[in-house]
């Protein structure tokens, strides 16, 4: 919404500065987007006259002009390149030191082809008044009398333009008067009284009838439609002051009749429309559109209408879309003699829908979709009639009104104390009353039981809280006192849930293992969703922003792999990325799960990556992923030995180099492994990728336990370590060997580790492998004898053999 200062002053008696107005507007909720003050931008430019033009001695295309810039002073020598520069021309002069907005330079005293130029004669483009740059500005000759005056004053351009961004709840401020009312209430001046309109109600009936043709259900589309016929008008360009105002706020003057409607729309937030009455066939009626109907709109385009849209039609069909745009064929032209003025109320919701469907963004829609003042149809009609009579002459008919104003009377029970209770401001009843009345409310009763009647132009005010808002924003938000929130006594208590703490800890554990945290999109292309266990139709967006963002992600791997690919393409192949976030198994809240997922590519191992003088890092593999998983679980206080590692994983993992960490048969804690080459190929990722997916929600809740740590059981007796090498079938799981050995004596055997795996040579041919384990025995009561050790060793060998068929390697 744009307006100029002088326009505002039509309604507001004020001597406030531009800055004060700007600040106040923003403070009360009418956010100022820009103020263009011509005095700041163009104040230095003067009216000047060329007293003599002669050729430049050193350049064919340049002239030297002698410019009278001030009455009674000798002319200045100025170099000018404009073809239209000539003796006697009255134009616009910029003295040295002036900033030229259109060319972004500041004039300096320097020679142009050897001749010093003492300023510049300017084009309209240089002043950013238009795109015209072919020649310098030519002012009417009578302006010669004003040589030396500021150009903006002489041309009537010295009128700052404000642009405010209106929130959708303020239809009243789509008119300058509404803004003036708010400013007046906020102490920025006095709202001028409405001028009385007289002599607009004619004596004859409009020859054009108006009708509403709706069913009961749809009658709210256009509850009231008023019109007046004015015969014998003389249309043509509107007067300069009107054109200038419209132009200042970005509107294009068309002709006097149309300009009047645009002016009132801007002035009062009251859109109107004018028809060339001689082009109308039969009664003008508001009704819903019919399938197949179309019309040529004022923007020169043809629009199809449908049954949801409110159209204005005559016998020939639709003329325009109610509340959105008028029709080209029924519009007024310079030749129009008889005019029908329309002033109606169109339903905000339907107007907005029609606007969206057609994509039309118009000044009418801007106002109707916010909900214009439903009581404005007759005052608006009268105002338009008055202006038309003044500018175009003619004779008005009686007003014709179909339907009636929607009844929107709202009386709110209001307790003044509510203001202090909600806002904290200490404010007197009298001030509250003054503010509400200044905004147009009428108040009966007082104190706890006031009854506030809301003005018709404020459809946004419904309850006590809305009234509080009005009082608070006008009284000033700076009057709200900072009030400390009561805090619980003592030291602040921890607030995070176990789940939240786990997520935090998992994140920092992974980063501590050298992985870099990424945040990737929650949605991905269909193909990627399907390749990683997703693609359920219920998780497909109906209106994705691109095909790359169509399905909700079933897991975090595709996003990380896509990031990996981009990093590979940039030459960063040794990448270790992780993400901690949500993924979706379905659309229900419980289908959303949290995962800590990571990928390692190239040689991005926890111990370092890439070549190094101390030994190059090897390629990542399944064990890097497994280590990440176990490190996270351990850091979350979960004993990894309680989980089972099974040799299976989803299809996007390498079938032989991946595993699942389970807690019992049903609960999957994590997948880990190298990714399947086919899955990588689908995403164009190169090389080996080790990946893991940890399901944070699957971890059992931590049991409440004492914070004291259990007593340290440290034995002074030396532990004994014994090595065993077993020859096993290649398929035997090392984990089974370790478990069998460890199970022999849970007290004595403290640890079993694998120190060697060998699969080659002669063993390979037999389908065997060799596995070396180190068993640590911790005596508790007395030192072990050789006999004791032999006995345990024999049991270990037997247990492993019975569990896996493995023989001690001889």
């Amino acid at each position: 919404m744009k307006f100029t200062l002088s326009w505002l002053k039509d309604h507001l008696d004020t001597d406030a500065s531009i800055e004060a107005l700007e600040e106040k507007l923003s403070a009360i909720g009418l956010e100022v987007e820009s103020v263009e003050d011509p005095a700041k931008k163009l104040g230095a430019f003067r009216v000047a006259r060329i007293v003599e033009a002669k050729r430049h001695p050193n350049a064919d295309k340049l002239q030297i002009v002698m410019v009278e810039t001030e009455k009674g002073k000798p002319p200045l020598e100025v170099v000018c390149g404009a073809p239209n520069a000539r003796t006697g021309l009255v134009g616009v002069f910029a003295p040295l030191g002036t900033y030229i907005p259109g060319s972004d330079i500041t004039l300096e005293k320097k020679p142009v082809r050897g001749v010093i130029s003492n300023g510049m004669m300017c084009s309209a483009a240089e002043l950013e008044l238009s795109d015209e740059s072919a020649g310098i500005i030519e002012l009417p000759e009578d302006m010669a009398a004003r040589v030396g005056e500021a150009y903006i004053d002489a041309a009537g351009l010295n009128d700052p333009v404000f642009e405010v961004k209106l929130t959708p709840n303020r239809p009243d401020c789509t008119g300058v008067r509404g803004i003036a009312r708010d400013l007046a209430a906020a102490g920025m001046g006095k709202l001028k009284p409405e001028p009385k309109i007289e002599g607009v109600e004619g004596s004859f009936d409009s020859p054009v009838d108006v009708k509403l043709e709706f069913s009961k259900d749809t009658a709210n589309a256009c509850p009231v439609f008023a019109a007046r016929y004015v015969r014998g008008v003389k249309n043509g360009p509107s007067p300069a002051w009107l054109q200038q105002r419209l132009k200042a706020v970005g509107l294009r003057p068309i002709n006097a009749l149309v300009d009047v409607t645009n002016y009132i729309s801007q002035d009062r937030g009251r859109p109107l429309h004018v028809y060339d009455a001689d082009k109308l066939k039969g009664a003008v009626r508001a009704r819903l559109g019919k399938a197949g109907e179309k019309f040529l709109a004022l923007d020169g385009k043809e629009y199809a209408v449908d049954e949801t849209m409110c159209v204005i039609a005559d016998d020939s069909g639709p003329l325009g879309l109610g509340g959105v745009i008028g029709g080209e064929e029924s519009g007024s032209t310079d030749a129009t003699v008889n005019v029908l003025i329309e002033s109606a109320y169109f339903d905000p919701v339907r107007t907005a829908q029609t606007g969206r469907k057609t994509g039309l963004v118009t000044d009418a829609r801007y106002r109707f979709e916010r909900g214009i003042d439903p009581a404005s149809e007759l005052p608006g009609l009268d105002l338009a009639t008055e202006m038309i009579l003044k500018l175009c002459g003619g004779e008005p008919s009686k007003a014709k009104v179909a339907g009636k104003q929607p009844d929107d009377k709202r009386v709110i029970d209001f307790d003044y104390a509510r203001v202090a209770k909600l806002s904290g401001i200490d404010i007197k009843d009298a001030e509250i009353k003054t503010i509400l009345e200044a905004l147009g409310c009428t108040i009966a009763g007082k104190g706890k039981a006031a009854k506030v009647t809301v003005p018709t132009w404020r459809p946004d005010i419904h309850g006590a809280a809305d009234l509080v808002e009005e009082v608070v924003r006008i009284a000033g938000l700076d009057r709200i006192p900072l009030t400390p929130l009561e805090r619980p006594e003592g030291v602040a208590r921890p607030v995070l849930t176990d789940r939240q703490k786990r997520a935090r800890r998992a994140r920092r554990t992974l980063a501590a293992r050298g992985l870099v945290e990424a945040v990737t999109w929650s949605f991905l292309p269909e193909g990627e969703a399907k390749a990683f266990g997703g693609g359920d139709k219920a998780l497909e967006l109906a209106n994705p922003i691109s095909v790359e963002m169509t399905f909700m992600r079933p897991g975090l791997l595709p996003g990380l792999l896509t990031a990996l690919k981009r990093n590979q393409n940039r030459g960063f192949g040794d990448a270790a990325l992780f993400e901690l976030g949500q993924a979706y198994r379905g659309e229900k809240p419980e289908d959303q799960y949290n995962s800590a997922t990571g990928v390692r590519a190239g040689s991005a191992k926890a111990s370092g990556s890439g070549r190094h003088w101390d030994g190059a890092a090897k390629s990542v593999d399944v064990f890097d992923a497994k280590a990440d998983v176990l490190a996270v679980l351990a850091s979350l206080g979960f004993d990894p030995s309680k989980a089972q590692v099974t040799r299976d994983a989803p299809e996007w993992y390498h079938p032989g180099r991946s595993g699942t960490l389970r807690l019992g048969p049903k609960t999957v804690l994590a997948y880990f492994g190298e990714l399947h080459p086919a899955a990588l190929k689908a995403l164009d990722v190169e090389g080996t990728v080790a990946a893991f997916e940890i399901f944070l929600d699957a971890l059992p809740p931590q049991k409440a336990k004492s914070r004291a740590k259990p007593r340290l059981e440290a034995n002074d007796l030396m532990p004994v370590r014994r090595d065993f090498a077993f020859v096993l079938d290649k398929g035997v799981a090392a984990g089974d060997v370790v478990r069998a050995a460890a199970g022999v004596d849970k007290v004595l055997i403290r640890e079993v580790s694998v120190f060697d795996v060998f699969e080659g040579g002669a063993l390979e041919k037999e389908g065997k492998k060799s596995l070396g384990i180190e068993v640590t025995l911790q005596p508790t009561a007395e030192t072990l004898t050789d006999k004791d050790i032999e006995a345990v060793s024999a049991k270990i060998a037997a247990a492993v053999k019975s569990a896996t068929g493995g023989e001690i390697r001889s």
């Binding site: 907005a352 945290e517 990325l577 809240p589």
Partner: protein
């Protein structure tokens, strides 16, 4: 043989032995000298053997002299040995000299990074936890009811239209799920499931159909909600000012409150922060929207708006990160570009605390 003779012999011998010791060039030589002097068949042993041949009255003195000689020679031997060992060690160590200018690996803790959004999230939690706010969470895929209707956003409101909201496919019953456009549904879920007093923040991913340099279809929000019987706009202002001071880690912060409009709050305000907080004096940064929870919203959650009141606010987590840490392109947050992540990401040990300062 007189004792004098013996004495001068011993002196000569001692001089000879000491010279031998001094002349020993390495540890092997000194060992040879030791054997030659102190060994079973060494010179000292030889001397001792002569003891028996001496007259008894001279034995004691001679024995004492030999022992003293032995002591001095042993000492010289040890000293020489120690010197030679020192030299040998020095030589070995010299031969072991490493090129300490060679680069080393800094290890995984130096390599890993925390994403700026996570870091700023942790910072916010730290601040609000101190003011008694718990962290509430909710699903990304929401119903129309929780994302809009309960928040006093009527069906015809522009925010519900396709250009803003991601919808899922329409179901047989005509309903359709959507991606939450703000974390406000979490506020609704909280009010529906908890009795006031309520103090929560609701951080998380939110989604809007929008994409340019400052808008991405997914971004992060953190909303706050306080509901009780007395909390008013003065408390809201205080909380926001305290938050801004703590977050930007400054003693003073300039704040500007402007009246605004949101369907779910009444009165509503937009809040600007003086850019002095980020070292750019003279500008205002629009950072958040807030207001008193609309009575309709309180009622929609099954609470009595005559009894309960409170405030809500919402701020972009990504925007906070951008302002505080000087990031410029929102899209880069979600690109997984290692160069960006390494540069703008945080060390794992940068754990924000109130005692140590949020950014260390």
């Amino acid at each position: 043989m007189s004792s004098t003779d013996n004495g001068s012999d011993l002196q000569g011998l001692e001089a000879e032995l000491l010279a031998g010791i001094a002349g020993a060039g390495d540890l092997a030589a000194i060992e040879q000298v030791r054997i030659a002097v102190l060994g079973k068949k060494g010179r000292v042993a030889e001397l001792m053997q002569t003891l028996g041949k001496l007259p008894p009255e001279e034995r004691k003195a001679f024995g004492q002299s030999v022992n003293e000689l032995k002591g001095r020679v042993s000492e010289a031997l040890e000293a020489r040995k120690s010197t030679l060992e020192g030299e040998a060690l020095a030589k070995r160590l010299e031969s072991e000299r490493a090129d300490v200018t060679l680069p080393v690996r800094l290890g995984p803790v130096a390599e890993g990074r925390i994403h700026p959004v996570s870091q700023v999230y942790d910072e916010c939690v730290e601040i609000f936890a101190d003011m008694g706010f718990a962290v509430a969470e909710g699903p990304d895929i929401e119903s129309d009811d929780l994302n809009f209707t309960k928040l006093n956003i009527p069906p015809e409101h522009p925010a519900r239209q396709e250009h803003d909201t991601f919808y899922f496919q329409t179901k047989a019953d005509g309903s359709r799920m959507l991606l939450r456009t703000h974390t406000s549904p979490v506020q609704i879920r909280t009010m529906m499931s908890q009795k006031p007093p309520i103090r929560v923040i609701a951080p998380g991913r939110v989604y809007r159909c929008d994409s340019d340099q400052t808008h991405t279809p997914m971004f992060h929000q953190i909303e706050g909600l306080v509901i009780d019987e007395t909390t008013h706009m003065g408390h809201l202002k205080w909380v926001l000012e305290e938050f801004c001071k703590a977050f930007f880690e400054v003693d003073e912060v300039k704040m500007r409150f402007r009246a605004s409009h949101f369907p779910f709050t009444e009165p509503s305000m937009e809040v600007d922060v003086g850019a002095e907080a980020i070292g750019k004096p003279g500008q205002w940064l629009e950072i958040l929207g807030c207001g008193m929870v609309h009575p309709n919203v309180i009622r929609n959650c099954g609470l009595d708006p005559e009894k309960y009141q409170g405030f809500a606010f919402g701020v972009g987590l990504d925007r906070l990160a951008m302002l505080k840490y000087g990031l410029t392109d929102l899209r880069a947050f979600f690109s997984g570009d290692l160069r960006w992540l390494r540069h703008y990401g945080f060390s794992v040990l940068d754990v924000p605390t109130l005692s140590g300062g949020l950014s260390g």
